[in-house]
Symmetry: C2
Subunit: 216 residues, 2 copies
DNA sequence: ATTATCTATAGATCTATAGATAATGC
DNA sequence: ATTATCTATAGATCTATAGATAATGC
């Protein structure tokens, strides 16, 4: 048969792309282990043999999905990750937190998927490990300079910078990890979730601001 | 054969208990879906038919493990969950956070396992849903009274109490969810992790304190 | 007679591939 | 000839049960 998928009667888009889209959807929803190649093929509307024809293995199609998603994330976040010497310190930090939070908020299943892989299949992240470690090192050093100057000048509470970053990252990330819990508690109206995310971002910024500038 | 497991050559403890222990170990490590009955039986050193003989289904053995763990948690945490009218407000709150954090810290795989189930098999928590919701409601109302009085008296920053609790819970919980990430970054020395947890608890307390009492 | 255990196996999945077959591009 | 597709199937697991067999408690 080998229908051309541009023919009438077939879904739009070529098969390879449809499989990629279906795979992304399922990996984002279920993580690596629980998203099966059979379900991906079903969702794409093809036999599962097609998945192996185009992508060879489950691991390879996952790595393509992961690559796309991590590149999107890195592209969005990189510009604000290096703190410069000039400029208002709090505005710089706030800008970084905002971009990070906003990206996770516009890709709400990214953090849960990455968490799933980090927990259950960390070896799949091997090729990104180094790059991400390097990036986080750049973030750290550039901010350390800025923050230490602020602390030394007595304008900011003295704080362990590693702990500060840990607080910022976990507060942002866990907001999205806990969406399943929220779904069970709040109304199902999607706008409720949007409002919650806005309030959450404000609260995180206020919390970090007072951690750094609030006088005890 | 039906060896009595008190005979020489057999592992100590009765079979049922050995299966329970193995199941707890695997569920804590891998969550519900990825812990298989075959692996549980292997670890317990019995054939997997035994698992069904004693517990009938995978779901039932999991529910027993869950019950034990949730009861332990609730027993530890309940005493400090109701804020009283008298007493220092910050000390009360600090006490609650400390007990909560310390319990998770002495049961480091509990939060990850619960998160896994909440994400992938929320229906397994159905029978606990109501009780937990009720408890969290009691926590909330008792604290709302205390905190509002403090805010109205101008002794505490005005704050959305829902957001405050969300910050406290996610900061504590995510500390333990992210242990796999830490393992990849820090040294493998278990004492490093102990020290990190201590520092983390202090940082969370400082952060929440300044959120509530720090002057902008 | 009851309890505990083992072997064997059913029936669902999963990932992956082999091999046949049809459409497309020369 | 190459590319795309389908059918069929191998080989691993998984959960769960049936049925035989041995040990224990009367």
């Amino acid at each position: 048969m080998a229908k051309r998928n541009t023919e009438p009667g077939t879904v739009q888009g070529n098969t390879e792309q449809r499989i990629m889209d279906a795979a992304e959807e399922l990996f984002l929803d279920r993580g690596y282990m629980l998203a099966t190649t059979v379900k991906i093929a079903e969702r794409a509307g093809v036999t599962h043999a097609m998945l192996h024809y185009y992508f060879r293995t489950k691991e390879q199609i996952f790595l393509k999905v992961l690559d796309k998603n991590l590149n999107g994330f890195i592209g969005a976040v990189r510009p604000v990750m290096t703190a410069t010497a000039n400029g208002n310190v709090w505005e710089t930090l706030k800008g970084g937190i905002t971009v990070f939070f906003d990206y996770l908020n516009s890709h709400r299943r990214l953090a849960p998927m990455l968490y799933d892989v980090l927990r259950n299949n960390p070896e799949l992240l091997r090729s990104y490990r180094e790059g991400l470690a390097e990036m986080s090192e750049r973030v750290r050093t550039s901010h350390v300079t800025m923050l230490l100057k602020e602390m030394d000048g007595g304008r900011m509470n003295r704080t362990d910078i590693g702990q500060l970053f840990y607080s910022i990252l976990t507060m942002c990330i866990s907001t999205f990890l806990t969406i399943p819990v929220l779904d069970g508690m709040q109304g199902k109206d999607p706008e409720d979730l949007d409002r919650f995310m806005d309030a959450r971002k404000t609260e995180i910024l206020d919390t970090i601001y007072l951690r750094l500038y609030g006088k005890a």
